[in-house]
């Protein structure tokens, strides 16, 4: 399964057929800091992803006090 991680843009191949949570754990990503998107749909950490899926993982952390996004 392909994973497109944003900011900066990177691509990974990971094992599919498991929960989003397990993918995030493997990539050492805190689930509360990202949107996980498949086919323009938001996924929860309990959703299952398949071997043929393409996931976008989009961090939500931005800016600072001086630069609200």
């Amino acid at each position: 399964m392909k994973v497109h991680l944003r900011n900066p843009d990177r691509e990974f191949e990971v094992i599919g057929d498991r929960k989003v949570h397990d993918v995030l754990v493997e990539l050492d990503i805190d689930p509360d800091t990202v949107l996980v998107i498949r086919d323009r749909e938001l996924l929860t950490r309990e959703d299952r992803v398949g071997e043929q899926d393409l996931l976008e993982i989009r961090p939500v952390i931005s800016g600072g006090a001086g630069c609200p996004s």
Binding site: D32, R45, R58, I61, G64, P68, S69
Partner: protein
């Protein structure tokens, strides 16, 4: 479904949009931020927070226009401007545009290289200056920014670690208007970055996903990461920290003194000294002298003068005495 662990809840798409609007409505009501009769200028960067705020205020029926400040940060600024213009056109909303280079003669990358301030510092200074000035010039009553719960919790953490009590005293979701400073409000202070990001995604709002290329290493990001580590172990920590501060901590830091503001001798915006922080920083970047004679004239003297300034009242406003 959207999970929000700090609320121990999951929302369907419609309920989530309702939840976001309700949090913003509660923030507006709790601090009497503005009324339906007020003209609100939303500072929009093209990012998720400011576009979420603008979208909700328009949906709630407020008279909300947008202000986009062109920072001159290459393709990042070009893309941001395009998205803001597209949103304003789609919603039929008023948009004020100011280009820093056209209006003031410098852009943020240049200021970061030539000035004594960090890039993020001079960027924040420029934004706050332009927001207030443009809102006054265009007849708005209130300036609204997209600072969210993560922004505010991280800022409070940083200020507390250094015991910067003057800064803590000013860290409020609302700063009243006075002496040429328009009222400033932060209606997203009850919402996390995850919530605003999910909201704009579900609403189909196109926003700038990429981070500002100049923000790498920003201290504020380190504080956010620290807060996220605590939040992961104990969901709700950020909420308890910041909302608890507003309820129980802030009154202990409320300022009692009164700071006199005067018009800047260069631009007329309020300041505590002869020249406002923005004019001093701009003069340094452009290599100009603000005055003949007594004022700082060498690069080193100007840099010392600007760097000694401590979060001036003309930029951040004053603490709201005795509030909440």
């Amino acid at each position: 479904m959207i999970e929000i662990r700090r609320h121990n809840a999951a929302f369907c798409r419609d309920c989530f949009a309702h939840h976001v609007r309700e949090q913003i409505r509660r923030a507006i009501d709790a601090f009497e931020m503005f009324t339906p009769q007020d003209r609100i200028l939303v500072a929009v960067s093209g990012g998720k927070d400011s576009l979420a705020l603008w979208d909700v205020l328009l949906d709630l029926g407020y008279d909300a226009g947008g202000l986009y400040l062109g920072l001159g940060i290459g393709g990042y600024s070009e893309r941001s401007g395009e998205l803001v213009r597209a949103f304003a056109a789609e919603r039929g909303a008023d948009l004020v545009e100011v280009d820093l280079a056209d209006e003031f003669g410098f852009d943020i990358p240049t200021a970061g290289r030539k000035g004594s301030r960090s890039t993020c510092s001079v960027c924040g200074l420029s934004k706050r200056y332009v927001f207030n000035r443009a809102a006054l010039e265009h007849g708005y009553d209130v300036v609204a920014t997209g600072h969210n719960l993560d922004d505010e919790a991280a800022t409070l953490l940083g200020n507390t670690l250094r015991w910067q009590t003057d800064y803590i005293a000013r860290q409020f979701p609302v700063l009243p208007s006075e002496d040429g400073l328009l009222k400033k409000v932060k209606p997203l202070y009850r919402l996390s970055e995850l919530e605003t990001a999910a909201y704009v995604f579900l609403r189909g709002i196109d926003y700038v996903v990429e981070e500002c290329p100049l923000v790498t290493g920003n201290t504020q990001l380190r504080y956010k990461q620290a807060m996220n580590t605590l939040e992961a172990a104990s969901p709700g920590t950020k909420t308890q920290f910041f909302l608890g501060f507003l309820e129980r901590g802030a009154p202990m830091f409320a300022r009692r003194d009164h700071i006199e503001l005067h018009p800047c001798e260069r631009c007329g915006q309020p300041t505590t000294g002869r020249f406002c922080a923005f004019c001093r920083a701009r003069a340094q970047v452009l290599g100009e002298r603000l005055e003949d004679g007594a004022g700082p004239c060498t690069d080193r003297e100007i840099a010392a003068s600007v760097s000694e300034e401590v979060l001036p009242a003309e930029i951040y406003g004053r603490a709201l005495e005795g509030h909440p």
